[in-house]
């Protein structure tokens, strides 16, 4: 009974679906009609739906979240900047901020460097296609899936038992004692970072590899004729030529890392000093009924992302 598809029970969803389709057609029809009538201002008419949706989906929630961040947990009392003070003063909160900072500084740099080195190494080699698809494959795995996979890699079993975790098995083979990798701060944060790097390095490789291929062959030939060695080639020719692509990878990775949530929640749930802002935000807002604190963390995250987004826009304009 529970598992059959019951049209009666699904009725609300179907009604919503129908309403959505009807509303969509109505809006499209209205726009076409208006375009016909007032053909002098097509830009404004065409932009209106997008603007309305942005207002509902982005502007209103942003303002509301900002307001909520100055309210108490049940959103009934104004508490001023208490939530922000809480975030910036309690030791666990500071730890969360420190972890987020570590992630944002290290992960984009490591992803980009690994991707770049890999792209340069496999460039024009015989196995390039295979090598690139191998490193790209983890991209197809969701963060939660990757988290579970790596949780197994780090799994601990006591010395006298059979190891089921890859890392500890290797450690045992090397004649050392198995360790509980995810429970040893501050090292565990780095073990979590490995997961994200594993996922994202493929993205960096593909983007940067494409950029490398875009370097005009005249430049490369000229450099070779001038006697540039491999290092000079890399630092003086390749890197400057693909600088915009490198920056794009760095920036997108930085934004993605700031919002990081799934990996930490799946693997440690923020325990053992590994929490990051997004995990704390979710827990406070949706599990603890502390909407104010959750909102304050969300606003803080928003403020942190803004300069990076702004920089990305600037980058796009100069290109």
């Amino acid at each position: 009974m529970n598992h059959d598809f019951d049209f009666g029970a699904e009725q609300p969803k179907l009604v919503v679906l129908l309403l959505g389709v009807v509303a969509f057609l109505a809006v499209v029809g209205l726009i076409l009609l208006l375009l016909d009538r007032f053909s002098s201002r097509p830009g404004l008419i065409l932009l209106t739906p997008a603007l309305v949706l942005l207002t509902i989906g982005l502007a209103v929630p942003t303002v509301r979240t900002a307001l909520l961040s100055f309210m108490s947990g049940d959103s009934r009392r104004f508490v001023g900047v208490d939530n922000y003070l809480w975030m910036l003063t309690q030791p666990e909160g500071l730890l969360t901020l420190r972890n987020t900072l570590l992630w944002v500084v290290l992960v984009p740099v490591l992803v980009t460097s690994i991707g770049l080195v890999y792209a340069v190494l496999v460039d024009r080699s015989r196995f390039e296609a295979l090598a690139k698809s191998l490193v790209f494959m983890p991209m197809a795995i969701s963060f939660v899936g990757a988290g579970i996979i790596w949780k197994f890699v780090y799994t601990y079993r006591p010395e006298d038992a059979d190891q089921i975790g890859l890392l500890n098995q290797i450690v045992v083979w090397l004649g050392m004692e198995p360790r509980q990798w995810l429970q040893e701060p501050p090292l565990n944060t780095f073990f979590l970072m490995v997961v994200l790097i594993w996922i994202q390095a493929g993205f960096a490789t593909v983007v940067l590899s494409a950029a490398i291929k875009g370097i005009p062959s005249e430049i490369i030939e000229a450099a070779r004729l001038d006697g540039a060695g491999p290092f000079a080639m890399f630092f003086r020719v390749t890197l400057p030529s693909i600088r915009p692509a490198v920056l794009v990878v760095l920036v997108t990775q930085a934004i993605g890392t700031l919002k990081l949530f799934d990996i930490v929640r799946t693997m440690t749930n923020g325990n053992f000093d590994t929490s990051v802002i997004a995990v704390d935000m979710y827990n406070n807002a949706f599990r603890f009924g502390e909407t104010g604190k959750g909102a304050a963390l969300a606003v803080f995250l928003f403020v942190l992302v803004m300069p990076i987004v702004w920089y990305q826009r600037k980058l796009q304009r100069t290109r």
Partner: protein
């Protein structure tokens, strides 16, 4: 966000319209036929709830899968006889989703709350309907005042209890005990002596696992609650869960250290899994399993752990595993930690009241028990209906007049503590944090309003 209630409202209207449309033809023959149809024998017990032809009651609950199917089977007859169509929805995200549904203007008719603390939040926000006189009467007859208290907020009674579980159990292997001549301990001192005896045998006496995804840490908090209830007493326990007794009070510190003497002692834990820290990464479902392989002697976990033993493990006093009551400091009193669900109503239509009333009866509890494993703290349930010895033992303990029952404290505290820092800090505590700093951090996190 602002658009949502309007949309939901419209759909609701549409539904009411279609609901009326479809039910009219069914009602017509009865109306024109004059005399009401004679009541069949199966429906005789449900006569008191009246006829609610064509009505619908929605239930939202954290109970899922097999147990959910069993519930639906239990009230099938009720549903057929009263004409109330019951739409049951179980979810793994009850705590977060119930808030979303209520905020979104789409609350269920009834909800099974496993946390009195969460129930209190909705009652204080004015979202819940007080219980009907019938439900109140059934609760007064059926449950001890301790239980009724947990469905009461600011003097108003809202929710009758449903199922129950006893948490103060220690699982062991009867075979291992007989082979070694060990006795089930009756006092805390005896338990600690037994612990040393087992350790001297070269077996780690205790095993534990507190990993539980989002809720990692809860089994450790159950330990603490059990000891606070024993050492500080029921009154102090009540003060502790309402923060009248600070979380870092020296008495609480002492109780936590008493737990630490077992859980943070490498000589005593963690049988089958390694050193102390492995407790934090062992899934609670697997915590006691080493008992079956002889690598661990004792595992403190609730009655529902009966479902987590490997396939083919016989749960009985003469079987592979069984549980004894986690003893008090002496035999004169019997403090018991437990948990359960409470049935609260967000609407007060007659059919919703009828359903809520039916769920509070001993008939419902008995019918449910006959189907499969289930524990109820209700008076008037027939213990002969218990499906396994641990259910029976649980209900005997719950019905024992000597028993001082207290609800799982973390379910009573504000979620920020009870489902947040208490779990988190106890996990950190297992992982090496000292007692005082862990308790200081929990105390500081207690919401101020």
């Amino acid at each position: 966000m602002s658009k949502r209630p309007l949309l939901v409202g419209t759909i609701g209207l549409a539904l009411v319209a279609t609901g009326c449309g479809s039910s009219t033809p069914e009602n017509k023959p009865a109306a024109t036929g004059g005399a009401p149809a004679p009541v069949s024998a199966e429906c005789k017990p449900y006569e008191t709830y009246g006829k609610h032809e064509g009505t619908k009651v929605t239930i939202y609950s954290p109970i899922r899968d097999k147990e959910a199917d069993l519930f639906q089977e239990t009230w099938k007859q009720f549903s057929e006889c009263t004409g109330i169509k019951v739409t049951y929805e179980g979810t793994g995200e009850f705590e977060a989703q119930i808030q979303v549904r209520v905020d979104g203007g789409n609350p269920p008719d009834l909800a099974f709350f496993p946390q009195p603390g969460l129930l209190e939040r909705f009652a204080k926000a004015g979202k819940l309907k007080p219980a009907s006189p019938e439900v109140t009467k059934l609760t007064d007859e059926g449950w001890s005042p301790d239980w009724k208290k947990y469905g009461t907020v600011d003097g108003t009674f809202y929710a009758a209890p449903l199922g129950a579980s006893v948490k103060s159990f220690v699982w062991y292997s009867p075979k291992m005990f007989t082979e070694n001549g060990w006795q089930v301990p009756k006092t805390w001192a005896e338990l600690m002596t037994l612990t040393d005896t087992i350790a001297a045998k070269g077996i780690k006496p205790w095993c534990a696992g507190i990993e539980s995804g989002d809720a990692t840490g809860w089994p450790a908090t159950d330990w603490i609650e059990d000891i606070i209830l024993r050492d500080l007493g029921a009154d102090a326990y009540d003060q502790w869960v309402t923060h009248k007794l600070p979380f870092n009070d020296p008495k609480v510190v002492a109780a936590v250290d008493k737990v630490g003497a077992i859980l943070k002692n490498d000589k005593y834990v963690n049988g089958g899994y390694g050193p102390v820290k492995s407790i934090a990464s062992t899934a609670f479902q697997e915590g006691g399993v080493p008992i079956t392989t002889g690598k661990c002697g004792l595992h403190r976990q609730a009655s529902f752990y009966a479902n987590f033993w490997p396939e083919g493990t016989k749960v009985a006093e003469d079987g592979d595993v069984f549980a004894f009551y986690l003893p008090g400091n002496d035999t004169s009193s019997k403090p018991v930690l437990g948990a359960g669900e409470f049935v609260a109503a967000f609407t007060d239509r007659p059919e919703v009241k009828a359903m809520q009333q039916y769920l509070a009866t001993a008939d419902f509890a008995n019918a449910r028990m006959k189907l499969a494993t289930y524990v109820s703290a209700r008076k008037g349930v027939d213990l002969a209906n218990a499906q396994n010895p641990i259910d029976k033992l649980s209900m005997e303990i719950l019905a024992d007049p000597q028993t001082v029952f207290r609800f799982d404290g973390s379910d009573l505290m504000p979620a920020a503590v009870g489902a947040g820092t208490f779990w988190k800090e106890m996990t950190a505590w297992i992982n090496g944090k000292d007692t005082k700093s862990a308790l200081d951090a929990i105390d500081k996190s207690w919401p101020t309003d």
